[in-house]
Symmetry: D2
Subunit: 333 residues, 4 copies
């Protein structure tokens, strides 16, 4: 059995990671690589792929998806919405995993206030399923269009899901998150230059980061302050979540373990585990470590921003949409 | 005018930084370098000093401090207490700046529960002055023994001092701090190896770090959760301080600026300033940036852990103890 | 078909990489993990393996190899020679890949002058096969004991093999090599500390590095000066090989491509390829780029020191010793 | 005594380093900061200067140099030549240190073939003095226009000067150099992005780098192959120079020490010194370590690319041009 996959948006960091995963995947078969800006041999765009046999990169055209079962969109936000709508109209059986932000927020107004642009395919927002498999497995398995979550959002949501209903939706929650630089994308800009990042730590978008909207939508926590940081490392996210008096105390690890028992890609480790992003680098895993400290509970949620925070979660969603075991092709070490 | 200075403990990162500062200082004159473990030319221990003329390093002996006006102790905790007591007895006019933790905590019991050893010179704890000049200027100017604060403690205390008396002492406060690796010292250990630190972020000692005791002693905040992290960078500390509903709101920057107006080494910058440890690298400065966000106030406090967090703050304290302008020798860029 | 494998020496960086490779390998089955110093669950020694099911680590005993087809030794040099001899005596059918230096040099005197210790199993040196598959494929396929090459040696030998016989054995050759820090191993030592490595480049063992002996033995080049450097990166080796007037000139790329045409893990790329260790990170590939520049030929040879320079080359050798296709389990991206 | 200095080109890495040095300099007084593209408070362009009192940045105009004694040009090549000519015509007493490449090469044809543009002020090339003070001290002291050398060129030339006349001008010499990323400048480009540099080493411009022309001009060595590399560090250059059979052998260190005895900023260290760029980081020093190895001599030449390779060497040249002791303002540690 083979499922024909296309990747649209191939040179960004998530596109590269996706192609790596699909190339090693036992069922998905990369039959098309598509770009909105360039064409030619992929290894000329990303030299590390010199030894991988891949289709030539083609320029995007809506006519080229015959025979494709599933397409992964790894293009910037606003570009995705212009592509998804004609694809869905033209190819009713096509499944789409969109790694951009365009279909993550169900309310058009929230999208528009968050991203500062109007949504040209807002009618599809109701159909799109938010792709955290640990939360929406069943809906994903029936979805035509899956909106792959943001990297920070994935870490935060998985770190808070077990507390939904258990902690008041208005409780003050602090989320101090730290990310590697690949999260900023491949486009050259001053803030991503080696000399502007190396040997320093910075905070940005405190309380104003776009991924907050996904957090509120998916968990209902209205009063969580999200404070992201940039760390001089390639990849990895740590979300440190601080909750005061959550009425769960010493049993918090047990509670989280019970919640995630059936989920192969979330592991709640012992409270004394050394917290490090290295636990999950290069994997589809989210590792959670809970620390009750007096009146406080601290929940550390760790992911690889390019994997569970983007490309491998996209494959996990695609597995579910296509009826495969969700771990297919993701059990590498 | 010259003031004769000795440094005891010369090869650690704080000892090195101290010698650099004193070598460039217009008044302090390094007349002795002393070690508890080795002797010989300093540049054989720290090759970067090949072009600096310095006294030979001598092995420690209590007899060698005649003619010394001030001594800087940069030895590990528990070693300092054994040295300070005989020095103070023998040389009544000698001034001492101790960079270890041994005289920071005024209550012997707190020292013993924090560091897990009994204090052999506890009678001196009452006499020692805690060396945050922005808080204890007058006492430092009269002190014989100054306990130079911990690096994290400096960042946290300076970030919270303006709120003492204004925010309830029992208010829940989150302090998520991030430090460069030099804070872990020069002793080889697995957790400081390049391959164990590089390209990853880790959390440690959540809610249990020893510097919490200094914070409680100096600010009175009983319910501040201190959560330190290790970042793959050489130096720098960012303390992100989160306070909910502090009843100070949009005026927080003004409030902080008023508080620190007279203090040359704390700068409260505009709320839109890009928060980065690079603002203070290599300087004695603490930069504070306050962000009111709805119900929250976030205070970012930035220092260089080896400078304002250790060696340059020691020089600032020494300046004050010796009646010099506190900025002497510290206005480099 | 399954082949039972044991790994002896499990916590070092090469041991970890080996276990990762064998865990993903379709034929080799890890049936024993063995250590000379500790026992217990592997994920307690290397937390990143929390989600991998592996046998408990046992303490080494010569009795425990019944039913094992192949053993990988990832212990320090001098430790390996004490283990290999009794193993080979007791288990005549057992195949051994030794990742240490103990069986790489066929002349006992060369071993002893290079490593400064006498060889306690020198009788086996004649039997051991030097494990560069691109050179000794046939001998490896019949070997009981394969000496896996040094990391630098692998990069240098593959970069020079096509010139053996073509360039005079006494020609002066400069090899300026640069390696990531993982090559120094996992043992804590001052020179591998983050703050002693980060943000700086150092040279060491110029003209005196132990891997020179392997180079001379395998290529016959008597006058190659090997000058290694330490780079602030986790992994990767670049060997820049400089040859003056080699009488091969502009056809050098073609010559190398012809030489390696049949070898799946050496790729000679176009002369204009951007030379970077990132081309081979995480793979068993050696990438070679040749640049003829006037009277000079420069050959860049790139490997991942933990992969083709150690663990994945060990698996390649094991594949050959066991009659598998040499690429088995090594074609990941 | 004060000497009025202007800096033209203020936001690049060399401009920043220059302003730092001049701000701390006891004689030079920064009276103007000038840019060709922006104006306003300097700390809004480079936030690290928040606590330094500096003149407002003005837009460049040829009329604004009355009262200026010396100007430092830190603008890109080709921009400098358009500025220098009118300045020299209009202000005959003005001294100029140009940090660009525009006046380094005395032959217009060499400039044009090296930089691929015609030289619009070629008449000044004969007047410009190449600013390696260890070679051209006397000419620099009389110069109106000093061409500050390239960073790589400085390291190579200082490493080879003692061999001029002693080693044949046609001898084959390999120079394998490694530089930190700041050498690539502050302009955002793909090759300087954190994720494209971090954790990897690359070679570039092998045998074709522009600084080769300076090397040939200043040393006469016609057959030196210059092979630069990019290292994931902020600053620092190591030039490893390999010479076969140089007929100098074991006395090479003594020879170099004799050559540089009178030069305060070049230190030839003992042959066993650990070679590391950290020896010179943040200083105006060039450290040289010579290693005779059998038939070979290896010379390691170490500088900080932004300091002795650019800004502090510019100050050293300015000191000499203005009749100051050449070490003025450069003896910090």
């Amino acid at each position: 059995m083979a499922i024909n996959a296309a990747v649209l948006g191939v040179t960004g960091y998530t596109g590269q990671a996706l192609i790596r995963l699909l190339h090693n995947h036992p069922v998905f078969n990369i039959v098309k690589l598509i770009s909105t800006s360039q064409h030619g041999p992929y290894h000329q765009m990303v030299p590390e792929f010199f030894d991988v046999s891949l289709p030539l990169v083609q320029l995007y055209d809506v006519d080229q998806f015959d025979g494709i079962d599933i397409v992964f969109l790894a293009v910037p936000h606003t570009k995705a919405m212009a592509i998804v709508s004609p694809l869905m109209t033209r190819y009713p059986a096509l499944k789409i995993v969109d790694l951009s932000a365009d279909f993550r927020l169900t309310a058009p107004k929230v999208y528009e206030s968050t991203y500062g642009v109007s949504h040209s395919a807002s009618i599809l927002l109701a159909e799109a399923v938010y792709g955290v498999p640990e939360q929406h497995f069943s809906a994903i398995s029936n979805a035509r269009l899956c909106a792959n979550p943001g990297c920070y959002a994935t870490a935060m949501i998985l770190g808070l899901l077990p507390l939904v209903g258990r902690v008041d939706a208005n409780a003050p929650i602090v989320i101090d998150a730290k990310s590697g630089v690949s999260g900023a994308g491949k486009q050259p800009k001053p803030a991503s230059m080696f000399c502007e990042v190396h040997d320093q730590l910075s905070a940005y978008a405190t309380g104003e980061h776009r991924h907050s909207a996904e957090l509120v939508q998916e968990t209902g926590f209205q009063n969580a302050l999200f404070s992201p940081h940039l760390v001089p490392m390639d990849r990895g996210i740590e979300s440190a979540i601080y909750i005061h008096n959550p009425d769960i105390g010493d049993s918090v690890t047990q509670w989280y373990q019970d919640h995630y028992r059936a989920h192969p890609f979330v592991t709640v480790m012992d409270t004394n585990t050394q917290v490090s992003t290295s636990l999950v680098t290069g994997t589809n895993h989210c590792v959670i470590i809970c620390k009750p400290m007096g009146d406080w509970v601290v929940v550390f949620s760790l992911i690889d921003n390019l994997m569970k925070g983007a490309s491998s979660q996209a494959v996990q969603n695609a597995n579910i949409m296509c009826g495969l075991d969700q771990t297919t092709g993701l059990n590498f070490k």
